[in-house]
Symmetry: C2
């Protein structure tokens, strides 16, 4: 026992050891009633979380929009009804969209002139919160106003706005965002649908040349869509000017039948989001007026001349697609919201549910007192906080760009890169958290009444739509490489190595071995000393930053000259480093999350809250370092001795955080009407109280049966006594 | 490029480099038609897989039972219909159970005297294959015959068999296995339902004392169950003899209404397996004849005297529960089967689907040629092979015990431990594989027509039912600790350290530092040399074995004396090492999988198959080492230099395996009627051929529009020319 206490508290005299042990017990490592650890948190020896203040901070800059949207999302009229067929679910969600219109929930981003509010940040914040009602509702709203409506608004001009936005806003015109094709998902530049200008009739001819060019996975396409923004290669005067967007009427508003030349298919049942009627569309020489081209970034005159304010076709394409970044931004926020819902349910259940009689004969352990259970849930709680703070920064950047406050090309590129970095991590994290919470709640977690499985099914596609996560991380990696190349242009490798080694954050290229040797010398201190260094903010930052920079530098060095190779060989060389590139992008995104968490600590004024949140940030940072510990070791960034302290330090953080776990999920601010999990209502505690009362009464009345094991033990004792 | 070629092939003269480069290109690192790499695999320079021979090996000892069951599972009558309500799905599955009876699919394990076959291994093998038709069908069959029927067979005696088995086998009596309670899942010993013997009427009184004691998550309970085996604490003459099983009639066969005193609830919609009517049951002093006690391991005479052939209550309890190990065994096999289905679909699609135009202007990369895609799918393919071979060993052990061939207490304990080790890994692996395959297929992967999402939803509960995976791994850990303690009883730590260090497998306790120092000295060779050592079978075995033994020894040392502490402190100490314990158990299970894969290599006679399978085994072993690389580094088992070669070596294995990927999934032997994924039917290739033909014809006719970028490039060139 002494050794363990030493490791936890720092060792020393016997008196010190005792003090440490008492503190450890108070911190919840041993069992207690579900109220116990929390009550302890309020005592003088423990910091306490100011739940209200923290809750306000988490609501962020667009707190009002979030509150308005949460109030709506708590309304049973918007909740997912489980067990419906996809046909029934689609009908329900379509009705809910009208409810959103009637309750002023979806127009914030549209122009004030059309009774919108020109409020881009608030619009996305409100949209994100809808996910707690039903992800299908959220995404169907996203298709209608975030994609279809946004495309008309951002890619079209005044006439288009006047003609279509009112009907889109009111849901009079349900519509599609017809970009993705069966043959091309993330690679939009390669779509094959054509829009060929016919000077004779002043019309564009929209055409699907083959099966792979059918539009696919298109929300609103199977049933509801009357109109569509169709993306196609604009061809005029024999020249292909690349992908442009066209407004196309799809169905007769009266009969709901496809108009001539248009056909489609229902995508059918999906893994989730079955409240949305995804489908396929194809066009057989469908003619639309020339003015149906959404012409903000490219136009065609009546004589067929193409004009554009952006000369470079490449930059023009990315500018057009860039207006769609809000999809990625909002998925990032929605993923954080769902992670919060899942953890609220699982952590509350963990403080009530008892299982296995480990330490006494009358009470079993509360699940959340088990070390493994803490590891499973608290590491994900820490990541959820980090992802939430990072999202708030992303949302701010998004609003800066779309409000025009900071809207340079560089701002837009930074926004794109930031969204491409954060959306993959948060959406994967949501799936991982839902799955872990579901498993942590055992069989109860599998019942739809507790929602984990339902939300997992619905959130699944978030990791591949609006940009496949793996593809997005490669975009991030390319940006990192480009920045790296820009910085070191015309610098030879020797100079580069020196530059990197002398950076303030302590970056080193492992090949030099300098830092590696230095650290081996430095790391002769005790385990305790090493742990202090790791929990130091600068220590974590240095390790996380170093890893990103070194990984990028390594890949950059390996790819040096790839551009001068024949195309096929250059691609092969690139492919040999694809895995490292994606890992580097991920490390970069994790660093951004860590920095956002650390920034947020500065905004916390309550001292107790700051202490607890700092533990949580440390848990996040140390978990990242633990996950990538092999990298730190084999690149000489951590000594073996120091690396061996990481796991212990994480275990100690779990014990510290345990008494504050409920406060930390309460600060998310979601009520029972949002969490809606039968196991998170206190029912488990009620059942246990009833069981305990039953056994107590049975013992008191003397009617309790004797355990056979007890009888055998008594018999063994009396046999031994008899032998004496 | 030279550096890269050196790394891949081993370097040397320029002539050698060229030869290596050619082989590398042939091996599929560069793009090719989907048939290309495979055709290359047949060439003289490449080993080829004998798909038929490997397929036979994978079918294993109970190949006939698997073939019979696969033929049935390929029948559309047994396939899951997607999009049904849970009510419709339940009705369909109940009908399918009758189909199984009629087609002789579910009686192999029952006594020959009752037209069974006393074939336990074959029964489980056949059962496992049903999962490809519909997991609900499989699990509902498992409830009826594997749990309800098995309990009557294994826990009951001749009269019970005669009375109930015929009706259970024919499905005349659909029934429940009523063990789990709302308050107690994995902890069966603590269930609260009581069966109190009443001498006056010669009856047991089955009673649910409070809400937490309701039976919950019970298959067949909501609708179909007419009978049940109910687990309850047997109380007679004031003594509780622990958990026993009782046969209880639940519903009137005519009206299907609950009999007096019995009530219940429907568990409703679940995350998956909605073809099964799970529900809750409670009993209000329900009386059953004394002879309804399934009395093989414990009986009560008419005067209330309890008798048992097993004196120890603890051993008796585990013996009774031990008869249920077949549930875990069969889930292990079913999880492997589902992983095979998922990989068959995703790998086939990966050989056809092209995306992003990386290396040429006319053809895009096939997904499976991307390094990251190979990493995602091939590492899981390797694990699936390992899990499959390990499962075959488990099934053999199961059959040995249940056939009576090897049925000592030690055999049963080994079987329990093996099942508890393998079932968690294979069921988690199935979920992980389904998710990764779904994501690797993008939006198409999310459509139910491609089944990944559907199977994920159904398989989800496999990780927590029949023993929560985390709890099972703790059982394994306890066994490892017990074995460790037994081996080193009365040995002080110094002796222990010496013992471990001198073992043949090269185990060392890191504290001694001996091996660590030795390896630093040894590791002065080149990267190439280190890679050879890692791909050596003995090298992998030593690393994997060492890790298990050291982890167990570490925890054993830390827990030394925990038994002498007061109960609460001992439990707290144990809890402080829970995470390490679970990790140690997992490492043990992974080692078992690796050993099983290695054993299987010895049974491969075709030389080409052996080469390819050895690469796959190496990929499995190296992936395990990579996953735990930080452990090997911080415990001094691998030097930094050697550790840095692991990733590269894995990347080279991926390239080697690429040409054989289709063969390796073809060897699983599942037909289109089992895989049933729209994307794995060649439709993608057909679409691409059509698209290519269209563009080819367009170019040939001279009607292809010119790309604006090409025009701009031409203009730039002529401007430069003009300047000259």
């Amino acid at each position: 026992m002494t050794e363990v206490v030493d490791r936890r508290g720092g060792g020393g005299t016997a008196a010190n050891n005792k003090a440490v042990r008492t503190a450890a017990t108070t911190a919840g490592v041993t069992k207690g009633s579900s109220a116990g650890p929390r009550a302890n948190a309020q005592s003088a020896s423990q910091p306490a979380v100011d739940v209200a203040e923290l809750g306000e901070q988490l609501l962020g800059k667009w707190a009002d929009a979030r509150r308005h949207s949460r109030a709506l999302a708590g309304d049973p009229a918007l909740h997912k009804t489980e067990g419906l067929t996809h046909t029934e679910h689609r009908a329900r969600v379509f009705g809910q969209l009208k409810y959103l219109v009637d309750h002023n929930a979806v127009h914030r981003a549209f122009p004030a002139a059309l009774n919108g509010a020109d409020d881009h940040g608030g619009n996305v914040a409100g949209f994100e919160e809808l996910v707690t009602a039903d992800p299908s509702l959220q995404i169907k709203a996203g298709v209608q106003w975030g994609l279809f409506g946004s495309a008309v608004m951002h890619l079209g001009t005044a006439d288009h706005h006047a003609k279509w936005l009112p009907g889109i806003m009111s849901l009079e015109i349900p519509g599609c965002f017809a970009m993705t094709e069966t043959g091309h998902g993330s690679d939009v530049a390669s779509i094959a649908t054509t829009a060929t200008f016919d000077e004779a009739t002043d019309e564009f001819v929209i055409h699907t040349p083959f099966r792979a060019a059918w539009k696919d996975y298109i929300g609103n396409a199977a049933i509801d869509g009357l109109g569509a923004v169709v993306f196609a290669q604009l061809v005029t005067q024999g020249v292909n000017h690349g992908v442009h967007a066209f407004y196309v009427d799809l169905r007769d508003p009266g009969t709901k039948e496809f108009l001539p030349g248009i056909g489609g298919e229902d995508d059918g049942v999906k893994g989730g989001l079955n409240g949305i009627d995804n489908g396929r569309l194809h066009f057989d020489n469908v003619r639309v007026p020339r003015t149906n081209l959404l012409n903000r970034y490219g136009d065609v005159t009546a004589d067929g001349t193409y004009t554009s304010p952006i000369a470079s076709p490449g930059r023009r394409f990315f500018t057009m697609l860039g207006t769609l970044v809000q999809g990625r931004v909002s998925l990032d926020g929605a993923a954080v919201a769902v992670s919060k819902i899942a953890l609220s349910a699982a952590i509350r259940y963990g403080t009530e549910r008892r299982q296995f009689n480990a330490s006494s004969h009358t009470d079993e352990e509360v699940l959340l007192d088990y070390q493994r259970h803490q590891r499973r849930l608290f590491t994900r709680l820490a990541t959820t906080y980090a992802a939430g703070f990072a999202h708030e920064q992303l949302l701010q950047k998004f609003d800066d760009v779309f409000s025009g406050t900071h809207d340079t090309d560089a701002d837009r590129q930074d926004l794109e890169t930031l969204a491409a970095a954060l959306k993959p991590l948060s959406t994967w994290h949501a799936l991982d958290t839902l799955q872990e919470c579901r498993e942590a709640c055992g069989g109860a977690g599998f019942l739809i009444e507790n929602r984990f499985a339902s939300l997992h099914a619905d959130m699944d596609v978030y990791v591949t739509f609006e940009g496949d996560n793996t593809v997005l991380l490669q975009l991030v990696a390319k940006r990192l490489l480009a920045d790296y190349a820009k910085e070191f242009r015309n610098v030879d490798f020797g100079v580069l190595a020196r530059y990197v080694v002398t950076q303030a954050t302590g970056v080193a290229i492992h090949r030099t071995g300098l830092r590696q040797v230095a650290q081996f010398v430095a790391d002769t201190g005790s385990v305790q000393k090493a742990a202090i260094a790791l929990r130091d903010e600068e220590g974590q930052r240095a390790l996380l930053t170093d890893r990103v920079q070194t990984m990028v530098a390594d890949v950059g060095a390996a790819l040096k000259g790839a551009g001068t190779l024949p195309l096929e060989k250059g691609a092969a060389l690139f492919n040999q480093h694809q895995n490292e590139l994606i890992d580097a992008a991920r490390a970069h995104a994790e660093l951004l999350q860590w920095e956002a968490f650390t920034d947020a600590l500065r905004d916390v004024s309550d001292p107790g809250t700051k202490v607890v949140l700092t533990w949580l940030r440390d848990l996040f940072g140390l978990s990242l370092i633990e996950k990538n510990l092999s990298w730190y070791l084999m690149n000489g960034r951590l000594s073996m001795q120091r690396a061996r302290t990481v796991g212990d330090y994480i275990n100690r953080l779990l014990v510290k955080i345990r008494p504050h776990a409920l406060d930390l999920v309460d600060a998310f601010g979601y009520g029972d009407e949002h969490v809606r999990a039968a196991i998170a209502t206190g029912a488990e505690k009620t059942r246990q109280d009833e069981a305990r009362a039953y056994y107590r009464a049975q013992r008191a009345s003397g009617t309790a049966p004797v355990d056979e094991k007890v009888l055998l033990a008594r018999a063994a004792t009396s046999a031994r006594t008899g032998q004496r």
